[in-house]
Symmetry: C2
Subunit: 358 residues, 2 copies
Amino acid sequence: MAETQNIAVGVPRESAPGERRVALVPKVVGRLRAAGLDVVVEPGAGGGALMSDWLYEEAGATLGDPWACEIVVKVAAPTPDEIHRLKPGTVLIGFLGTDVEALSTADVHGFAMEAIPRISRAQSMDALSSQSSVAGYLAALLGAQHLTRFYPMLTTAAGTVPPAKVLVLGAGVAGLQALATARRLGAQTTGYDVRPEVAEQVRSVGAKWLDLGIEAIGEGGYARALTDEERAEQVRRLNEAVIGYDVVITTAQVPGRKAPVLVTGDSVTAMRAGSVVVDLAGESGGNCELSVPGEAVVRHDVTIVAPLNLPAGMPEHASELYARNVQALLELLVDQGKLRLDFSDEIVAAACVTRKES
Amino acid sequence: MAETQNIAVGVPRESAPGERRVALVPKVVGRLRAAGLDVVVEPGAGGGALMSDWLYEEAGATLGDPWACEIVVKVAAPTPDEIHRLKPGTVLIGFLGTDVEALSTADVHGFAMEAIPRISRAQSMDALSSQSSVAGYLAALLGAQHLTRFYPMLTTAAGTVPPAKVLVLGAGVAGLQALATARRLGAQTTGYDVRPEVAEQVRSVGAKWLDLGIEAIGEGGYARALTDEERAEQVRRLNEAVIGYDVVITTAQVPGRKAPVLVTGDSVTAMRAGSVVVDLAGESGGNCELSVPGEAVVRHDVTIVAPLNLPAGMPEHASELYARNVQALLELLVDQGKLRLDFSDEIVAAACVTRKES
């Protein structure tokens, strides 16, 4: 039985509420099959992304129990029940989060997609970036959807309405994609970041650069946390700046910390009625003081939207990009159809957050 | 008391469920005041559009009972209760609908915004067009929001996703705005209409023209109803065409009739999973056989959205455009601060659907 010699990759159905993504899509299944891997998909795994079991089978996957496979690929971190189903020695890939003790106890090799180092050789595995692209795009659309006004300038027989002004705070992948999307839709865009070196990238997507005169260059491409004095000054100057905008999209997060408050309740009060704040930092506490994570609320006639897990809102392409990131990592972990974990490789070492005792 | 000599325009709070628009906005209140009209706004009238009473007062309106005014401007047709509050001889302006018997009994002058003739002198009063612009823009956004994929092409380190293909059926104001918006967002767009003379307009917004070889030129800029044979052939050819698109936006309506079915259940079945149908004809029965008016449903892994009263979803600008249309009509009905209904005027005669017996 030649089939049993291949390593099998299991694709469970995601169990987190609202999670419509799936770790592998049919298109990528075909590529993994070509690379000598079997793929076992849990029935319904692609259902949230509107991809049927049949599409997986057509791509060469079999339907079955993904947890019995040598490699299990997920999007979200596994629940305690799911960890219980993993065999010792399994390679588990996903956004594993910070609490990896249970994985360690289960004796699995855990590879965290969010721990992939930001080096050029690992770009194709950078799932934080690919999912941030989706989030930034959807954030700009959410702003348009909740705004009581048009994004583009509109000229009608009865007169003209001016274009919306969109400000994006934080010019990482999500922020740049939000700027690009809002601009595409016809808005006038402005970007802000504490890292002055991203000004050129902001301008490259057609946006103006908002210079508040406060810098905070950190490690690994992220911003460092500001000092208390810098923070107070930043918030004061931002409060003045945001008032002129129809839509403010905030994307400021510092890894492992509560998100900084950039838009205070006072500045919401001063915004023009009908304006919108889209807060992408809802999961880590929010960049807007009035955000209610997971909800859209109206405060002082301003709509404040703080979506959770935005990439799940565009599940096919979010899954496809994620699956390609996973595929790139798998190609590093598997050689000629066999697992070969080379912990001397910088990427393998960095991404591995728990390791089976050997 | 000079004030009492001015004619007063009353602006009620709209009572229809989900109606967030208002017939006059503060900006237009100022212009009417300058033209010698008083404006009386019901408290909370702008609330759905997030425009506070204070903004109206600042523009020169007073808060009070709008139903006592000589002129009452509305968006939606009045309810029986509201008609009861109108004094005989009142001029009522709004989308009055086809059932105007109660208005006639109440002895009011009813001017229906949807009855404004489509002549160039009346373009500034064309509320059907201005509201269709809003609907078309929002329809393209709704498609993007429900699609499981990106509209624009996206190039990432892990590969490229292709742009979405968007087909718009019906190239009136709503259809053209939907095409323009989807194209702005990066989609590849195609337009179809039974009126071959709009092909140039479709191309002018960057879309391809889908030629099915069936024509139906009607009166007043609308399409005529097709014969049964033409309809069957049209649906057969459309069924073949829609299969290749990620998003199909339908805008086909024939005034006073049930909307034609353009997208059958069979063609939904044949569409690629994750695709979207946005049906703008939900209010008149729908252009898609599987539409559920007012809802977004998933059938055969395709999302079918049939929104009701889409312009209410962008209430400030929808109201502002509508208010400018109303302002233009008021300027025709009022001369130097006095009502002067000149029924020999083509626009006045056409728009007047009920007239006080004199």
